[in-house]
């Protein structure tokens, strides 16, 4: 796919504080990219620079091949959805949505028609004359969404738009936004600190840490093939176990853990024999068996606790050198504390990460 948005070596300082450091990122037309990271990781700053609210200290932002650093916000033609909605309190819902159309000088008939269509799209046609303060949080967010989409912007930017909603509504809105993205072919840049939100909605996820992108890839890639320890820990839950590389064969490596156990694991980056590394093992990829199975990696462990959590059984294990967590399907049998079991996982279910 052709690149539509390009961040070219973007750096941003606030005084002495570097919030975005020499960052490169390309986004294709029609793509849904999430910027995921903890607060203060620079993801919102990057979005603000794309919207034109902030200027990069150095580097260029290109839209469709043209640098837009010098283009003021109101000429960038980007729809922004804010976390706190930013609806105009003195205007009705209809006037709020008509605002960007009036700014573009559309005539009244066309404006009304498009406002009606936008309200239909977010299923709020009945509330056209209400004031924003008379709406619930979810309704306000839908109005904000309609307002950001009604003028058919080239890019839609969303800054943690669902952060203020409760869990159920948030999940519904996630699906709604994903649906709109597919139906309208929108290019969306979505900032969030909620990893499940990013995984649910995005074509690609860029994981931010300390002003840099740690990894960018499809939800499956960043979850299953974390490139760094930060990504492995930030997205989902994982077991991180320290070890030393003994040999590398193609995409697999032999690692000896501090407990002495030998593990065969998939490798993401470049590692060399003798190097100290971490193994990332997702808890739901771990099986517990009573007999050793040489086709898979097996760690000898003892159950210290097991908690029934409805959709899964969470078992805490301890072997000679480190604790381990396993999430088992709800059909799994119970494990009493003290039971000795093997924690088994395939080479493809764990990952060598250079520290």
């Amino acid at each position: 796919m052709a690149e539509f948005i390009r961040f070219d070596r973007i750096t941003k300082f606030y005084g002495p504080l570097c919030v975005v450091e020499n960052l490169d990122l390309g986004i294709a037309k029609g793509e849904f990219v999430s910027l995921l990271g903890p607060s203060g990781s620079g993801k919102t700053t990057l979005l603000m620079m794309l919207a034109g609210f902030e200027q990069p200290t150095s580097g260029d932002i290109l839209l469709d091949g043209t640098a837009i650093n010098a283009v003021p916000t109101h000429k960038r033609d980007m729809g922004v959805v804010f976390q706190s909605y930013a609806l105009f309190p003195h205007m009705s819902v209809g006037d709020n949505i008509a605002f960007p159309l009036q700014m573009r000088g559309l005539n009244k008939a066309e404006t009304n028609q498009r406002v009606t269509r936008a309200l239909d799209m977010v299923q709020l046609s009945a509330l056209v004359d209400r004031r924003p303060s008379q709406l619930s949080g979810g309704q306000q967010q839908r109005v904000a969404l309609a307002r950001a989409l009604v003028f058919e912007p080239r890019v839609v930017l969303m800054d943690e738009p669902l952060g203020a909603l409760d869990k159920q509504l948030r999940e519904q809105m996630q699906l709604d936004i994903r649906d709109l993205h597919r139906r309208l072919g929108l290019t969306i840049v979505f900032v969030t600190h909620d990893q499940s939100e990013a995984l649910t909605m995005s074509d690609r996820v860029a994981v931010f840490n300390k002003g840099k992108i740690e990894q960018i890839g499809t939800p499956r890639q960043v979850y299953d093939e974390p490139a760094t320890r930060f990504v492995a820990e930030f997205i989902g839950e994982t077991n991180l176990v320290e070890g030393v590389v003994e040999a590398v064969q193609g995409a697999e490596a032999n690692v000896r853990l501090t407990s002495g156990a030998q593990i065969v694991s998939a490798v993401s980056g470049a590692v060399a024999p003798g190097q100290t590394v971490y193994l990332s093992i997702r808890p739901e990829r771990v099986d517990l068996t009573e007999t050793r199975n040489d086709a898979r990696n097996c760690l000898e462990t003892e159950v210290t606790d097991s908690v029934y959590q409805g959709d899964h059984l969470r078992v805490q294990l301890q072997n000679a050198a480190h604790p381990l967590i396993a999430k088992l399907g709800r059909r799994s049998r119970e494990f009493a504390p003290g039971t000795r079991v093997y924690a088994a996982f395939a080479a493809g279910d764990c990952r060598v990460i250079a520290p």
Partner: protein, 392 residues
């Protein structure tokens, strides 16, 4: 039940000092000034007998004997020269000639050797109904004379309201001038205060504190000190003229003091906090992301301001304007010190009547005009702000 009433009693007890203070220093002075404006007991107090008989008179025919007799009785009974003087002044202002008529009459009545038969025998003027009409009108304990005079109106001999002659018509000019100066000051305060408040609200940390401090600091200084400071700054050899001449902008000193310019400069400065603070307090409640949102939706800065920030801050501007205007129409010290004779406002006229000529009636009447103007303005504002919140 008894617990509830004892609690109410205790609350009232706690409120009592406040209530006493309010009644003693606000309500009572207010009503006493208002009653000064409309009460007129000077004549009735001295002529109680005449008051009884004069009510039956038809106001056209020559005075009857009982009326004359009653007046003679009343005048003979007067032993207070000061009160007599008040009454004569009051009657003379309604009908010129009363002063000489009364002094002639009282001296004739005081002569025990040659008691006059009746009033007409003392002076022929007692035959004319006009003088008796003046007495009859003045006998009423209430009068609208002061209130009418406050807006340059008066009653003619027939009792109809008409304009006072031009040489007595100063109040209306001064009232119009007061409102005009107040309007100009309000306008300049809004012109300076609104952008100032917008900048202050957009800053944070020490910069915001500094800007607000710069507005608040003068508020904590005495009004007299601030006005005196402007006196020093604006005078011919003052800082401003010296500076302008120093950098060669002007050759002769600008006339900045004892004229309208000086009054408006000083009053705008003194009243600026009352414009900035209400606007600022409204502005900080406006979410910070509305202007970026407007920009992202395609609004250039000026249109974003006109469509979003201005309508949302209008409530603050309105209350700021109201505060400044109401304060300005009551201003006294600043025009008195900085202004010339043509810049005196209604308060100095009130002060003149109250302390200069001891005419409490006129002082009270002019005060009532100010009070009514303020109340009308306030009710307009309250109506507007009610509509605003109703639409929300």
């Amino acid at each position: 039940m008894s617990g509830g009433s004892s609690r109410t009693g205790r609350s009232l007890l706690l409120l009592a000092p406040l209530l006493v203070f309010l009644i003693g220093f606000f309500v009572w002075p207010l009503f006493s000034m208002m009653s000064q404006a409309i009460s007129d007991p000077a004549v009735l107090r001295l002529l109680p007998r005449s008051a009884e008989v004069i009510g039956d008179w038809d106001r056209k025919s020559p005075p009857t004997m009982p009326m004359q007799a009653a007046l003679v009785e009343d005048l003979k009974a007067v032993d207070d020269d000061q009160a007599l003087g008040d009454m004569v002044r009051r009657l003379n202002s309604a009908r010129s000639g009363f002063r000489t008529l009364m002094s002639k009459t009282t001296s004739a009545l005081a002569d025990p050797a040659n008691p006059p038969a009746d009033l007409v025998s003392i002076d022929k003027r007692w035959e004319k109904p006009e003088f008796w009409i003046a007495i009859a009108d003045a006998l009423s304990p209430y009068t609208d004379r002061n209130l009418l005079a406050a807006v340059d109106l008066g009653r003619n001999a027939a009792g109809n309201i008409e304009h006072l002659p031009a040489d007595q018509s100063v109040n209306r000019v001064i009232l119009v001038r007061t409102f005009w100066i107040a309007a100009l000051v309000t306008f300049f305060c809004a012109c300076i205060g609104f952008p100032y408040a917008i900048i202050a609200a957009s800053l944070d940390g020490w910069k915001r504190d500094l800007m607000l401090g710069a507005v608040l600091l003068p508020l904590w200084t005495s009004l007299l000190v601030r006005t005196a400071a402007w006196f020093i700054l604006l005078q011919e050899q003052g800082l401003i003229n010296d500076l302008l001449r120093g950098i060669g902008l002007i050759d002769a000193p600008l006339a900045l003091i004892f004229n309208r310019t000086g009054v408006i400069i000083a009053m705008t400065h003194v009243l600026l906090p009352f414009m900035v603070l209400p606007i600022y307090s409204v502005l900080i409640t406006i979410p910070k992301n509305l202007m970026p949102a407007a920009a992202s939706l395609g609004a250039p800065p000026l249109r974003a301001f006109l469509r979003v920030l201005l309508p949302l801050s209008l409530r603050g501007v309105a209350s700021g304007c109201l505060l400044v205007f109401i304060s300005a129409i009551g201003y006294y010290i600043t025009p008195a010190l900085i202004g010339g004779p043509g810049d005196q406002m209604i308060s100095s006229i009130i002060a003149f009547y109250a302390t200069g000529s001891a005419n409490w009636g006129m002082a009270g009447a002019l005060g009532m005009v100010l009070l009514v103007a303020t109340l009308v303005l306030y009710s307009v504002y309250a109506r507007l702000s009610n509509d605003e919140s109703g639409r929300r």
